[in-house]
Structures are given as structure tokens and as C-alpha cells.
């Protein structure tokens, strides 16, 4: 008896939960309203069956529970009833399947006028490629992938020269236009998911897969990787900004073509030397850093990383948080660098400076730190050397006190919280793992053991 009541209560509770739940699909922002319709349809059919069958079961339990002198009926089968039930079930199944297949037929059939954009996934970042003026994407191959050519574009393919490369986790798309997203992975499986668009698809290394949709609502939407891709899976995020055509065009104009990136001259260290004079005041003439002035060591750091940080400071993506005292001091300094060329030059100069390991100042239990570093090593390299293709700066031999401050900043949301600081936000999620200051000290103590 209690179990029959429990069944009834669970059925009622489930229905109520469904009706009252604040957790449901986020509002749609693409043309795939039909997918939502098939879901509603499935809800109606299955919901009806759920309620009806379970209530009937509860009824049977109450009505036919054992009582004194009661005896069960003997009915091996009832063909008619069974065929009726089979038929009804089949009808319900068809009612759900048929509309589903119709929508799927649209899913497979990409509109001819769909614009093409390629999303490239690699552990644990997104980047994008737009076909340039010729409307064609160049051929690619994993063999070509390197620090200079992270997209792996075939340098000999003329179609690839004008491809526009967006080396950032954020992509913009024009509203209202169907877009076919080609999906390519450089290393492992990933999955391109924007909840508001409803559609998703895996990226498979060795293949190019696709999805298509037409954004119907402007805004900024989270892009998540939803196929397990290793330790950093949960930080492999990006965003899709849907905006008006003109804004989109302007945004796309900021990004270089493949030809431009490959032709870009390396920074001129000689030209960078005078620019560095300003920096030297704090960071030291050899860029060895100065703890007293809270200026970290720069020599030995990847120039690509220095450039990115200088640009972040210049754009206000870093050094603008109220509590980032020393970042706020750096921001105006970065502003003195006139343009990207100046940034390239000064970074090139820093690269020429000798890399002597900074003295250790942090004490902690390196042994404990080693266990924690397993996670860090996935991006920064097991030896802390830093891996450009993972967008992970070097840690080995850098100012350890600075690592501690930055880890704390990341953890407290002082760094990496700015919407434009894409890679910083990833680090913020990772720094959150470090439970307390001791954990940070242990970790940095372990980093200090790298030779």
C-alpha cells in the first residue's frame, strides 16, 4: 500500500517538478526552433505514457494486493489486448520519429547560400578561419602545424593565402545568415556546442565535420567543448558573438590573412632596444626582474606571450581591475608602446637578453607541489618550459614570487575576469583548483626545482 501511494506521489512530484523547474533550455538563438518543437512533442507523448502507465500500476497494486481469501486470475495471455497495446505504442513511436526525421533531413541539408567558417579545435583552445576574398578555404594538413602556422595551412595552396585567421577563442557571426561551420581538430576529439543554437557536432582529427545554423538573435553566447578531450576539457571554452552585418565586417577586418601572418617580419631587436629603456627602470637592464618594484623577470619568457600581455595591457584587458595594484602600474607603461610593431620590437629585444634563472624566494613543500603540477604540466609542459601552441607561458626560472601573486590574482578573479582576456579566464578556472595559499607555495616550490 505505501508503495502505491509512493508511486502516485512520485508521478505527481515529477510532473510538478517539470512544471516548476527553473532549469530548462536556454532561450534559442538560431533557426532550429523545429528542434525545440520535436522536444515538446516528445515531452507530450512520453509524459502521457509516464503518467498513465505508472498510475495504472499504482491502481493495480492497490486493487489487487493480497487480502484474505483473494486469489489471482489465471490468464496466460490476451492476444487482442497485447496487439492493441503494440499498435498504440507503434503509433506513438511514429508520431515522435516522423517529425524528428523531417527535421533531421534539414539538418543534413546545408543551404546553398550558407557562409563558410572553420572552427579549429585543439587542446584546449578554439580558433577560427574565414575564407578570404576568394571564398575558398585553403587546404590544410597536420604536417604543416607549427608555432608559425598554428592552423596547419598548406603554404603552397593559393586558396589559403587570403584565409583570415582568428587566433582567439571568440568568433563573431552576422545575424540572420545561414552559416556552415566546418569543424576541424588538430589533436583529439572535441565538440562544438553553443547551447543557444541547439546543434552540436564532434570535431574528429583526420576528418572535417560540419553543422549549420542561422543565428537569429544578437548577443554573446558561450561555446563549450562537449567531447572529452583530456585534463583541460572543462576549460576549453570560447564564445560566439552574433551581431549586425556591418559590425561583423568591421570585426573581421581586424584579423590578418594567412599571407599577412606568414609575411609579418620578425620584431627588430635593435629597434626594440631604445624602447626597452622605459621597461628597464623596473624590470632591470637584463630583464632579470626586481622584486622590490614588483616587476617580474621577462628574459627567457616566450616573446609570443610577452606580446599578448602587452596587447592586453594596452587594450585594457589586463591591469584594469581595482585590486590589481601592480597591473594598474603596468597598463600606462604598455600604453607608451605606439603600435603592434613597437610591441614586436621590444619583445624581440627581450628575447635576446640572457636567461638566468631568477633566485628562489618562495618556500613550500615541493613534493606536495609535484602532485599538483600534473595538471599544470599538461599545458605548461612537464618541465615548465611553456608551450606556445598550448598558449601556456614558461614557468621555469621565472620570478617565483610573481607566479604566486598571479595565481592568487587568478584565483580571486583579479586577473582573467575581463571578458577580453580569453586565455586568462581559462587560467582562472584552473587556479581555482588550488585550495589555499599553502597549495600555491608548494606548487611554486616545485616549479623552482626545474633546471
Amino acid at each position: 500500500m505505501p508503495i502505491a501511494i509512493a508511486l502516485i506521489l512520485l508521478v505527481l512530484g515529477s510532473v510538478l517538478f517539470h512544471l516548476l523547474s527553473p532549469w530548462y533550455f536556454t532561450p534559442i538563438a538560431s533557426n532550429w526552433g523545429t528542434i525545440d518543437d520535436t522536444i515538446s512533442l516528445t515531452f507530450w507523448v512520453t509524459g502521457f505514457v509516464f503518467v498513465a502507465v505508472n498510475l495504472f500500476m499504482a491502481y493495480c497494486v492497490i486493487r489487487y494486493r493480497q487480502r484474505k481469501g483473494s486469489r489471482a486470475a489465471y490468464e496466460p495471455e490476451n492476444k487482442k489486448l497485447e496487439w492493441w497495446l503494440t499498435g498504440l505504442t507503434a503509433a506513438g513511436v511514429v508520431a515522435m520519429l516522423a517529425p524528428g526525421l523531417l527535421v533531421w533531413a534539414k539538418f543534413v541539408d546545408v543551404p546553398k547560400d550558407a557562409a563558410v567558417v572553420e572552427a579549429v579545435g585543439k587542446q584546449w583552445h578554439w580558433s577560427y578561419r574565414f575564407p578570404g576574398a576568394d571564398g575558398k578555404l585553403g587546404t590544410v594538413d597536420a604536417r604543416y602545424v607549427g608555432d608559425k602556422n598554428p592552423f596547419g595551412i598548406n603554404p603552397d595552396d593559393p586558396n589559403g593565402q587570403d584565409d583570415i585567421l582568428v587566433a582567439s577563442p571568440e568568433v563573431h557571426l552576422p545575424i540572420g545568415k545561414p552559416v556552415k561551420v566546418l569543424l576541424r581538430s588538430i589533436d583529439v576529439l572535441h565538440d562544438f556546442t553553443v547551447a543557444q543554437f541547439r546543434v552540436k557536432m564532434d570535431l574528429v582529427p583526420g576528418l572535417v565535420t560540419y553543422i549549420w545554423f542561422a543565428p537569429t538573435r544578437t548577443g554573446k553566447f558561450d561555446l563549450l567543448c562537449e567531447e572529452l578531450c583530456g585534463i583541460g576539457h572543462f576549460v576549453m571554452r570560447g564564445s560566439v558573438v552574433v551581431e549586425e552585418e556591418t559590425a561583423f565586417k568591421a570585426w573581421l577586418g581586424n584579423y590578418p590573412t594567412f599571407a599577412q601572418t606568414s609575411a609579418r617580419a620578425a620584431g627588430d631587436a635593435a629597434a626594440g632596444k631604445p624602447l626597452y629603456a622605459v621597461c628597464a627602470a623596473c624590470h632591470g637592464s637584463q630583464a632579470e626582474g626586481n622584486p622590490a618594484l614588483h616587476a617580474p623577470k621577462l628574459s627567457g619568457q616566450g616573446d609570443w606571450y610577452l606580446k599578448r600581455q602587452l596587447k592586453s595591457y594596452k587594450q585594457g584587458a589586463r591591469g584594469t581591475h581595482d585590486k590589481d595594484v601592480f597591473g594598474k602600474m603596468m597598463a600606462p607603461m604598455a600604453a607608451t608602446l605606439a603600435d603592434d610593431t613597437a610591441i614586436d620590437n621590444v619583445s624581440a629585444y627581450i628575447k635576446t637578453l640572457p636567461d638566468h634563472p631568477a633566485p628562489a624566494t618562495v618556500t613550500g613543500n615541493a613534493n606536495n607541489g609535484r602532485k599538483r603540477y600534473v595538471i599544470c604540466g599538461a599545458c605548461h609542459g612537464p618541465d615548465g618550459r611553456g608551450v606556445q601552441q598550448m598558449n601556456a607561458p614558461g614557468l621555469k626560472g621565472m620570478s617565483d614570487w610573481y607566479l604566486v601573486t598571479q595565481l592568487k590574482n587568478f584565483k580571486q578573479g583579479i586577473r582573467g575576469a575581463h571578458p577580453q582576456d580569453m586565455y586568462g579566464s581559462q587560467m582562472a578556472l584552473m587556479a581555482a583548483i588550488l585550495s589555499d595559499d599553502q597549495a600555491i607555495d608548494d606548487l611554486v616550490a616545485y616549479v623552482n626545482t626545474f633546471k
Binding site: 486469489r71 583529439v188 565535420t209 585534463i231
Partner: protein, 591 residues
């Protein structure tokens, strides 16, 4: 119609059946350790499976703790989180459920229910267990190697399974694959036994259609497993070669961590096809024995024949057959040719029909029944409820269009836990409460059983029903932490906390069950040979627990199907399968 007796002239004395040669051990070790008695082997399987299952239960707690209280536990980082997820899944699906249903229940029930002395090849049966045990030990060993066990997800998808950047990509994955290969070898030995025993060792009169549905379920599941596990074996071997010798079956040319990989030309999707060609039948390898067992529980405790026995058999066979042509519904968004979606959505939804029929027939068995709300019956009803819920959400995921937004979210996690974790586990519990008296000669404690039932049933519903809604809201699965998105409401976190609390409670209450098992073994009420008044042969043994050889001097002869409950005209409300037509006591009230 007169159901009680067919003409007694049809009664034939037992034919001269070749008696089986049993191995008679003399020592304790021979009897209980290197045992060739299927009943002992069954207990060995069950204890091992439940033991390793408890490890997986603890792993699930750790996972849930992280999801509810992110970054609060220093011993859970993204790396070992993935290891917990992976090992939890792998252990539960393969090492617990498959081993428990087939190795445990299969071994115990097949010989007893079909009226055989033992499995046909007792020696092979023994080896099967020891190979299984070594597979389990290898799996445990992987927790202690450098880098720990693999964290590639229970599906072990390449390329990431064997690349740096995934936990346990060096030693862990290799031990995992070798352990799986061993498991498959061990299972094949056992499986051959189960199939041949069902086909060749049934006692006189036990035709196929007189077999209890438990045997049908286990038998069909065994055939599925025999045909499906080779796919896993092949993929495990191929991945091992990719990982160790540098072949490129599944590994395309890639750049990992900024380094060019040494592979070229492999296909990750090929692995997925092979894996799911095994993986989907695997769902039914777990589900079919549960279907069979629950049918018998319901029939016995409702004192009524199972409704539509033939339909139930056909449905089991149909589901088994169909399960081989639906595998790619796990791969709708895997990047395979999207046109496959039409085919696999259709086959998948077709499988809903025989499955629904089974549900209807269970409930129609209750209808006009004489339901005894015993603990096994409560678990059976709990199973039906849970299974209906899990089956219906399967209609979401099987229908390719509906699957797309839900795939890779917590909805999937909730669905498959409902349908192939909680539902079969409820059956396992029901079955243990049901057959424990036969195994030990004592009843399990009823009050403890009821506490265990209520917490497990309601608690696990409280875990998984709300979890679907996290999936609707877009919470991805396999995520160590979901903070930092714009579209998932903050309140999702409070739901996560609630789910974790429920999971901790349900998990902890399993202690009640374990305690009951131990306590009742010594103190339980003596059960007698047939405490539930059931008809099937295992309850008709001369000794309880049955001795080696099961049936004493002569094998039973079967005169009726397994479901002669409440037969009109018979005095008692059950007629055991081995009661000859002439010996049925007629009720005096018969008109």
C-alpha cells in the same frame, strides 16, 4: 478450460539420461576456492563483483563531491576527477553488472532452473572465474601505477586515450585494455558454458518454452555478449598496438601539445563504431537478465502467471536481435556520416516497441493478481517505475533530432543511470532478497530490507530525475567544473548540491544491505526449501542450500511451464514444475 491436468497417460517415467560426472572435491580449498560447483562459482563472482562495485560507488561519491562543492577538496583535481569518472563507469558496467548478472545469477540459476546437475563444463567454468578475478586485480593495479588509471572516459576514445593530456595515458590505459581483454576471455569461457547448458542440459520435459523468463533473459544476454565482446576485444587489441608499437589503426596524423605525433592515417571514428557495436548490446547484456529476473519476481509475488509469456520471450529475442543494429545512436554527433542518423533513429525507436510490451506485460501481470508486497516485490515495482522513466527518456536520445541538443549533457548521464544503473541494480537487490533463502537457507531480515528499499528507490530517483533538468539547462557532462558560463543559471549549483546529498545518503544506506546479508547469514529466520511458494525447479531441491549436484539422486522431471500460479481447480495457488499432473491436489470447491 481445464488447466490443471493433462491426461495422466501422457506421464512418462524419466528416460535414461546420461548422468553427469561431477568432480568431487575433498578439501576445503577444492570445495570453496578452486571450486567447480556453479553455485560456489556464482557466489565467488557475486562477491568479487559487489566488492569492486563498492569501489566504484566510492568513486561516484568523489565525483559528486566535486560537482556539488567545486574546488573544496584538494584531493580532487581535474585529472583524478576524470579518472574517477572513467573507472566508475567501467567498473559498474563491465566488472559489476555484466559479471554479476551473467557470472553470478547465471551460474547460480541456470543449472538449478533448467534442472541440471551443474554447468556442462565445470572446469572451464572455474577457470572463467579466475580469469575474471585476474582482470579485476589488473584493474585495481592500474590505480597504483605511475600516472594512475586511465581517465579517458569509459568509452576510451582515441586519440586522447593514449595521448599525454589525458590522465593515465601511459600505464593506466594499457592495464585497462589488458584487463578488458582478460575479462572477455574469461567471459567467453563462462558464456559458452551458459549457452550449452541451456541448450543441452535441460532436464526431461523442460522444453524451451517451459523455461522461466530468467533463463531466457540470461541466455539471450549471453549470446549477445558472446557476439558483442569480440568487437571490444578487437578494438582493445588495436588500441594497444597503437599505443605500444606505433601502428595507426585509430590514430590519425595529429599535433599534440605542440608536438607532431608519430601516427598517420588512422580513424578515430572506426574505434567508435567498434566500441558501440559492443557497447550497445552491452546495455542489453545488463538489461535482459534484469528483464527476465524481474518477470519471475513479479509472477511469484503476484501469485499469477506472467502475462503474455510468449510475447515476453519474443520480446527478449527481438530486443536481442535489434540491439545489434542500433549502435550508432551513440554517435549521432560523432562526426560520422550524418545520413546514418535516419537509419539508426528508426531502428532505435523500433526497439521501443518490444521494450514497451515487456513493461505492459509486467503491469498486466499485477492486474488481477494477488499481490504480496514482499521486499522482492517492492524492488520489482521500483524497477518498473524507474525503468519506465529511463525508457521514456531513451526516446528523447534515440530520436536523432531530439538527441542533438541533449547529447553530451547531464541528461544523457541521468538517462543511462536510470535505465541501466538504477533499474538493473533494483532488480539485483530484489533478486538477492528473493534467492538468498535458497543460497543460505535463511531469510533476509524484512525490516532492514524495507528500509533499504525505500532509501534506495526514492533516493536514487531523487538523484537522477532532477539531473535530467541540468541536462536541459545545458550542463555538459564530463565537466570538472561548470562555473563561468553565462547560460547556466546559478541555481544549477544548488541542484547539484541536492543531488550530491541524495547520492551520499543512498550510497551510505547500502551498508544496511551489507549488514543484512551478514546478519541474516547467521541469525536470519530459517527459510525452508520454498519460502515464496514458487514453482520453478530451484525451489524444489531436496536440500536447501542445494548440495553439489543440485537434485539428489534423480533429476526432476518437468510437467508444466514455470508459471502455474493460481491455477483454477488446484487447491494451492502454485503447482511446482515437477509435480506430475496426477498429483495436483484439486480444490474441493471445484465445480
Amino acid at each position: 478450460m481445464d488447466y490443471v491436468a493433462h491426461d495422466a497417460s501422457a506421464y512418462a517415467p524419466p528416460a535414461e539420461v546420461e548422468e553427469m560426472e561431477l568432480y568431487h572435491p575433498k578439501t576445503f580449498v577444492g570445495k570453496y576456492i578452486w571450486s567447480q560447483d556453479a553455485k560456489i562459482i556464482a557466489v565467488q563472482y557475486a562477491v568479487t563483483a559487489i566488492g569492486i562495485g563498492l569501489v566504484a560507488l566510492v568513486l561516484s561519491w568523489l565525483m559528486r563531491l566535486q560537482l556539488a562543492f567545486p574546488n573544496s577538496f584538494s584531493f580532487i583535481d581535474p585529472s583524478n576527477y576524470l579518472q574517477f569518472v572513467t573507472q566508475h563507469g567501467m567498473i559498474m558496467v563491465i566488472y559489476l553488472l555484466t559479471a554479476l548478472f551473467l557470472g553470478g545469477f547465471g551460474n547460480y540459476l541456470i543449472p538449478l532452473m533448467v534442472g541440471a546437475r551443474d554447468m556442462v563444463f565445470p572446469y572451464v567454468n572455474m577457470v572463467s572465474y579466475w580469469v575474471y578475478l585476474s582482470a579485476v586485480l589488473l584493474l585495481i593495479a592500474s590505480f597504483f601505477v605511475p600516472g594512475g588509471p586511465t581517465g579517458a572516459g569509459w568509452t576510451l576514445y582515441p586519440p586522447q586515450a593514449i595521448l599525454q593530456g589525458t590522465p593515465g595515458a601511459t600505464w593506466g590505459i594499457i592495464l585497462m585494455l589488458v584487463s578488458l581483454a582478460l575479462f572477455i576471455v574469461g567471459f567467453t569461457m563462462g558464456g559458452l558454458n551458459y549457452v550449452v547448458t541451456v541448450l543441452q542440459a535441460r532436464t526431461r520435459g523442460m522444453t524451451l518454452m517451459r523455461m522461466p523468463l530468467t533463463i531466457w533473459g540470461i541466455f539471450t544476454a549471453t549470446i549477445l555478449a558472446l557476439l558483442a565482446f569480440p568487437a571490444l576485444l578487437v578494438s582493445a587489441i588495436m588500441m594497444l598496438l597503437d599505443a605500444t608499437l606505433g601502428t595507426s589503426f585509430f590514430m590519425p596524423a595529429i599535433v599534440s601539445m605542440g608536438q607532431q605525433g608519430g601516427h598517420a592515417g588512422g580513424s578515430p571514428v572506426l574505434f567508435q563504431h567498434l566500441f558501440w557495436f559492443f557497447g550497445h548490446p552491452e546495455v542489453y547484456i545488463v538489461a535482459l537478465p534484469a528483464f527476465g529476473i524481474v518477470s519471475d519476481l513479479i509472477s511469484v509475488h503476484a501469485r499469477k502467471n506472467i502475462f503474455g509469456y510468449r510475447m515476453m520471450v519474443w520480446a527478449i529475442v527481438a530486443i536481442g536481435g535489434l540491439s545489434f543494429v542500433v549502435w550508432a545512436h551513440h554517435m549521432y554527433v560523432s562526426g560520422m556520416n550524418p545520413y546514418f542518423g535516419f537509419f539508426f533513429a528508426t531502428t532505435t525507436l523500433i526497439i521501443a516497441v518490444p521494450t514497451a510490451i515487456k513493461v505492459y506485460n509486467w503491469i498486466l501481470t499485477l492486474w488481477h493478481g494477488n499481490i504480496r508486497l514482499t521486499v522482492p516485490m517492492m524492488f520489482a515495482i521500483g524497477f518498473i517505475f524507474t525503468f519506465i522513466n529511463g525508457g521514456l527518456t531513451g526516446l528523447f536520445l534515440g530520436n536523432v533530432t531530439v538527441d542533438v541538443p541533449l547529447s553530451d549533457t547531464m541528461f544523457v548521464v541521468a538517462h543511462f543511470h536510470m535505465v541501466m544503473a538504477i533499474a538493473p541494480i533494483l532488480v539485483v537487490f530484489g533478486a538477492i532478497y528473493h534467492w538468498y533463502p535458497k543460497i543460505t537457507g535463511r531469510m533476509l531480515n524484512d525490516s532492514l530490507g524495507k528500509i533499504h528499499f525505500w532509501v534506495t528507490f526514492v533516493g536514487s530517483y531523487a538523484i537522477y530525475y532532477p539531473m535530467h533538468y541540468l541536462g536541459f539547462a545545458g550542463v555538459p557532462r564530463r565537466y570538472y567544473a561548470i562555473e563561468g558560463t553565462n547560460f547556466i543559471p546559478e541555481s544549477a549549483q544548488s541542484l547539484n548540491v541536492a543531488i550530491t546529498v541524495a547520492a551520499l545518503i543512498v550510497g551510505a544506506f547500502q551498508v544496511v544491505f551489507l549488514y543484512n546479508l551478514l546478519w541474516s547469514y547467521f541469525r536470519g529466520k530459517p527459510s525452508g526449501g520454498n519460502p515464496w511458494n514458487a514453482t520453478t525447479l530451484e525451489w524444489q531441491t531436496p536440500d536447501t542450500p542445494p548440495k553439489h549436484g543440485n537434485f539428489g539422486a534423480t533429476l526432476p522431471v518437468v510437467y508444466r511451464w514455470a508459471y502455474d500460479y493460481s491455477v483454477p481447480g488446484a487447491e494451492q495457488d502454485f503447482i511446482p514444475q515437477n509435480v506430475p499432473p496426477g498429483e495436483v491436489t484439486r480444490s474441493s470447491a471445484r465445480t
